[in-house]
């Protein structure tokens, strides 16, 4: 599950999975609480929150920032839906704005931390090259998703890629993809994500600007504090 937040890590990661795994669009999520937009791709209007699927993997990808007041209902809907599908794990993917990453100007390999609500998932996290989120606060949509999954006994994992706070960060998304490869037994090569990093940064500028504006006007806090 990826929505636009810090560094656009969730959206870049999920779109890359969809593209690399050649996942087909299976449907969309709609609500009166979502921004009043339709996305036009190649002259066809589509809903902005997509559901893609292939075999037993589903990806929910939003092309619009989620208004803070929509977080709870969206999280409830996703958690209930996952439970009804008997999903083995709900993974939220996002960025954790990092001062170190801002200061290194996006160079070096970003770390990935995870929050899980079962011992079993926590154990896989450590062997997947991510560290556990020891102390801090996660807020916004992913915190709500974790809460709603907890309430239903649904396994949940939130992966936070250390990211630039204000700009799209494809390298942070690549670090998250590597962890997802091990957790979900995927084989997605991150080479082209890193190679096309400049291109992705150019193409996601507008979404980044909208995300910044949405977080300023709606008072949405960053996804994590540590």
């Amino acid at each position: 599950m990826g929505i636009p937040e810090s560094g656009l890590v969730g959206t870049i990661t999920c779109s890359y999975l969809v593209e690399q795994l050649k996942m087909a669009e299976r449907g969309h999520i709609d609500s009166d609480l979502l921004p009043q937009v339709m996305i036009v791709h190649d002259s066809a209007a589509v809903y902005p929150v997509h559901i893609f699927g292939k075999e037993d993997l589903l990806v929910v990808l939003s092309e619009v920032p989620l208004p803070p007041f929509a977080s709870r209902d969206m999280a409830k809907a996703i958690a209930s839906w996952a439970k009804s599908l008997k999903a083995s794990l709900v993974v939220g993917v996002t960025g954790a704005p990092s001062k170190d990453r801002d200061e290194s100007q996006g160079e070096g390999k970003p770390t990935v931390v995870g929050v899980a609500n079962t011992e079993a998932t926590l154990a896989t996290l450590k062997s997947a090259g991510a560290s556990t989120f020891e102390d801090g606060i996660i807020s916004g949509f992913y915190a709500m998703l974790l809460k709603q999954c907890n309430a239903r006994g649904q396994s949940n994992l939130t992966l936070l890629g250390e990211s630039l706070s204000q700009f799209p960060d494809p390298a942070a998304a690549a670090a998250v993809v590597e962890v997802l490869n091990r957790i979900l037994s995927l084989k997605v090569d991150t080479k082209s994500l890193l190679k096309e990093s400049e291109e992705i940064r150019l193409r996601t500028r507008e979404l980044m600007q909208e995300t910044q504006q949405a977080s300023q006007s709606g008072g949405q806090p960053p996804s994590a504090y540590r």
């Binding site: 036009v40 290194s104 100007q105 706070s165 400049e198 291109e199 940064r201 150019l202 500028r205 600007q209």
Partner: protein, 151 residues
């Protein structure tokens, strides 16, 4: 006729740049089709003694970046290593070619432009400028009424 149109176009551009310089990030287009330039994403951080402005310039080499500062603004001009083609609005089929970045950002506080330093890595420019100390200390005169009371 074309002269009139040009005038209107220039007027429009003037207004647009006035808005962009005044309000920064607010609802501003990231494209300037007429000059084939992109307005880079940026952020400004103000601390007690420093202003840090960061610009996202993917596709640019260090030698092609020019940064100029005044007391209250930073301008960035950068030539791209190669032109890029981008869709300027969703739903629009045709793409436009862009060759450079250009942006002037008004700062929320005054800075000392001579004390600035800049770094460029990974297509991100970071400019640090010391804040200008404003105002001079005003001496408070002795209160004459105090003397009277002592008498």
């Amino acid at each position: 006729m074309s002269g009139e149109n040009d005038q209107f176009e220039n007027f429009g551009r003037g207004i647009e740049s006035l808005f962009s310089e005044t309000f920064g990030m607010i609802e501003e287009s990231l494209f300037d089709i007429a000059s084939r330039s992109l307005r880079p994403l940026f952020s400004v951080d103000v601390s007690e003694d420093m202003v840090t402005a960061t610009f996202d310039l993917p596709g640019v080499n260090r030698k092609d970046v020019a940064i100029t500062c005044t007391e209250d603004a930073i301008s960035v001009e950068a030539q791209m290593a190669r032109p890029v083609r981008l869709r300027v609005a969703s739903g629009q089929r045709d793409q436009r070619e862009f060759v450079r970045y250009s942006r002037k950002v008004l700062l929320p506080v005054r800075v000392d432009p001579d004390g600035g330093s800049a770094k460029f890595r990974n297509g991100i420019a970071v400019v640090k400028l010391p804040r200008r100390r404003e105002g001079k200390r005003v001496r408070i005169d002795a209160d004459p009424s105090v003397k009277r009371l002592r008498r």
